[in-house]
Symmetry: C2
Subunit: 242 residues, 2 copies
């Protein structure tokens, strides 16, 4: 419990999470912050940081004056919407062993909407990549990523089977920092329904999002559609001040 990176807080968090999932705490009661600090040889502040994150994730809950406890309903969440990263990981978290099929890679001129989202001129070249994620032979998700061609070094097809964040790192040394996402309901039909293997008229969730890099510049515009019968998103909603 001395090494840096991962940070002490992250180590404490991982350690506690492990003990929680192993059912190591009687009656779901977690030792007090003072006790944990002494036990792990770190300051109370570090313990509190770790506990705060676990609380935010829904793993535990705290009651002033009473104590800190395991939160069983929160443990049922497989993947939290605000934290999902690569779709491969999301699928793995749901117990799948996903595979990826590249449906197409094209270089096209950006239309007004894409140009605006990516802060590039209308008509500038963009790489459009369509992927299908499958579990066994069953399609689970359909994704379309649009990346400014100017960012790429190397052939668009290289690393195409990797997750978008890895693709961006390999091609342009940009690290994806966050997505700004809209949740859109759609009725599947035609090509999309066929690709996802559902009947026309099936409802699905679509994410319309823009990904930003470490310097807060837009680097990818993504649209992803999911089979609701195979993958359902969960999140925790809380009240916050201001």
């Amino acid at each position: 419990m001395i090494a840096r990176n991962p940070s002490l807080t992250d180590q404490v968090k991982a350690h506690l999470k492990e003990r929680i999932h192993a059912g190591a705490f009687d009656e779901g009661r977690i030792p007090s912050e003072t006790v944990l600090a002494a036990e792990l040889g770190v300051s109370r502040t570090t313990i509190r940081d770790a506990l705060s994150r676990l609380e935010h994730e829904g793993t535990i809950y705290r009651r002033q004056g009473a104590g800190t406890f395991v939160n069983p309903p929160g443990l049922r969440i497989r993947s939290r919407l605000e934290e999902m990263w690569s779709y491969e990981d999301v699928l793995r978290a749901h117990g799948f062993t996903p595979s990826v099929r590249i449906l197409g890679i094209d270089t096209l001129p950006a239309d007004a909407s894409v140009a605006d989202d990516l802060s590039i001129p209308v008509g500038a070249s963009v790489i459009v990549m369509e992927k299908l994620f499958l579990e066994d032979a069953e399609p689970v998700a359909l994704a379309r990523n649009v990346i400014p061609a100017g960012l790429l070094r190397g052939e668009p097809a290289d690393h195409a089977e990797e997750p978008v964040f890895a693709y961006l790192e390999a091609h342009c040394d940009r690290r994806l920092a966050y997505y700004l996402s809209e949740i859109v309901p759609v009725v599947l039909g035609g090509v999309q329904a066929a690709r996802l293997g559902v009947v026309d008229g099936t409802a699905a969730i679509s994410f319309e999002e823009v990904g930003f890099d470490q310097d807060n510049e837009p680097v990818v515009r993504a649209t992803s559609i999911f089979r609701d019968d195979l993958l359902r998103f969960r999140l925790i909603r809380r009240k916050t001040g201001t």
Copy 2:
């Protein structure tokens, strides 16, 4: 800048948010943490807490060694999914001045699914309340709340026009702490389509959720459906460790 409650951190956060929205920072650059701490007469820790929350909300971003900056794309978010509370507030944040119509209040026996979610016996009485939220005469959202009858003190119809969290406080002195939510795509038809004023076959987002109180006990099961053409949800997705 001395009073407790709201906490110093909350006051600092609100203060900075105001200055940010007023465009008070040149080039989007926010003063360093040290400067802010001196300026506002609080410790750097307090400043950092406030900045961390603003960063999490997408209002600002920070780059180690470089500084803290306003995040223009984040400012466009009207209401964040993880933070929405009463639907009235969500609608107001989108510029509406909502009204509520009670469609019905019934007392029914709980089926297996509801009983499980609310930790009550199958067949126990529950209050079922259906509400329609409108902007002018236009329906925007349809909500169905199910509350264990055993929790209520007083007539179910009392306070029915108030938001659920206020209803629960008034009737049972329970404060809603958080919702565990599932996002479900639906195709509207029949009664629901008619109530929401859309044609059969329109896609919509539905939230299936369970609300928990301050003691982490389930107190309400809710289903809410929204008109996508009038209300669209946004959120920030980030990578997190572990």
